[in-house]
């Protein structure tokens, strides 16, 4: 089945210069391994390929059931230089939550994902 990340995780983002960070947190601890497996650096980079000009770094925080992504070249130069509405990367969090994941029905059922068969 196909699930959208917004139904599995919550998130917060912020900025450091021209880099936006996105912290993704599993809504339930037992969903974290699924997120850690699916949200690879490559996958996130592909998701933002039309949005950022630089690379993506990925970090795991299993203690918080969370992942942290650094999106470089995300903010049109950053802070004061940026002409963007979201000059400080505040809503890159929800932009990542738009991603869809394909999860086998059996696993979705086992994990109790929303909308699982």
């Amino acid at each position: 089945m196909r699930v959208q990340l917004v139904d599995l995780a919550h998130a917060r983002s912020g900025d450091k210069g021209d880099t936006a960070n996105v912290g993704i947190i599993a809504m339930r601890p037992e969903w974290y391994p699924l997120l850690a497996k699916e949200l690879t650096r490559e996958r996130v980079k592909a998701h933002f390929h039309n949005v950022i000009t630089g690379d993506v770094q990925r970090y795991e925080l299993p203690n918080l059931h969370a992942l942290n992504f650094l999106l470089h070249g995300a903010l049109d130069g950053g802070g004061t230089l940026s002409l963007k509405t979201d000059a400080q990367g505040k809503v890159f969090s929800t932009a990542l939550l738009r991603m869809h994941l394909d999860v086998p029905d059996a696993e979705a059922k086992r994990l109790g994902l929303p909308g699982a068969p």
Partner: protein, 455 residues
Amino acid sequence: MKKPDVVRIAAAQGFWGDSLDAPRRQVEGGPVDYVMLDYLAEVTMSILQKQKERDPRMGYARDFVGAIESMLPAIAEKGVRVIANAGGVNPGACAAAIRQVLQTSAKGSALRIGVVTGDDLLPRLDELFAAGHTLANMESGEPLSSVRDRVLSANAYLGSTPIVEALHKGANIVITGRSTDTALTMAPLRFTYGWKDDDWDRLAAGIIAGHIIECGAQCSGGNCLYDWRSIPNLADVGYPIVEGRADGTFVVTKHEGTGGCVSVHSVTEQLLYEMGDPHSYITPDVIADFTTIQLEPDGPNRVRVHGIKGRPPTDSLKVSIAYRSGFKAVGTLVYSWPDALEKAQHADRILRERLERLGLSFDKVLTEFVGVNSTHGPLTPEAGYEAPEVQLRVGVRSESRSDVERFTREIAPLVLNGPPSVTGFAGGRPKVEEIVAYWPALIHKSVVRPAVEIV
């Protein structure tokens, strides 16, 4: 003197411009020992520097004066101590303004103000260059000398040590310039429990306590995405309080009866805010490891934090430098149904053609359609319905002030000589803004000389 089991540190300001009532509500809402107020974001120092150039008595966070007025009974009568980086680029002037407030009462007159200085490297730049410190940009590697004549401010991030010293000297109010946000919370913990300067795990715990509350209500229900509809009474949101203990564990909470919520979810969101490499959160005092943090619920609106590990810091301090970097302006117009998006897109094409014909030079022209794509850009799916209205938002950036100025004259004419059913221009011409850009650098710790004075 017996050390208290618990020391309560209340956050009352998450940035310059935060709620004016928060300081008073924090001291009146229940027991607190310290109030910390964080006023400084990356670019705030440059704004303050500009104010100081115009008036040598300015250059600090003016809001702090009102905050002290509103907290004065608690400071003078209950012994609450206050720590704030409100000094900006002029901690001395800030202290003088606070002194005036204190003089209004007998008890206030007896209070001590501690002033931390030494972070300001602007007057020392030439000396530093001569000694071989390039202050190279941490991102581009360029030496600071390449923009020397455009530098507005340069401040090293100081750690907790000078604040602890001021508390030892009996300061009731500690005013700093560019201290790290986290040091404002860690210093009273370190002072209260006498943590040694190589007690890495406890120092790291103090830093993480600081990180959690430094953005005010952003950890107690504000800007919290998790089940956001269920967060009660944000109108009366409680700002966060850390209850620290000698062993480095602490509880994040808020005053009883206030709105918002403190939960594992709200605290986790704040922990990830502006996070870089979670294994290495580098501060002047210690490197904290965010992958060691353990959170657990500890009753309603209480989260217990423990397990934190730290390790020795680097021998550098981060320096926050601001420099002039051209000009920008943003103009907006609102188009209504029918065909709102199509009209806004057409107006954008006309505007760009006119700018080109005028021969203006811009480093960047950015168009966004608010209501359609200004938050998620190309990630936004097709709406599936016709937008009832769209705001056209065009920004330009240039080294030339006159070219940006000319751009601002091209927005309003579109109302009469562009596509139809347009409104929302009542604010007048867009204003030209000088860009003050951020230049992060490192400097060896031995070069920076923090000083503490009681005034």
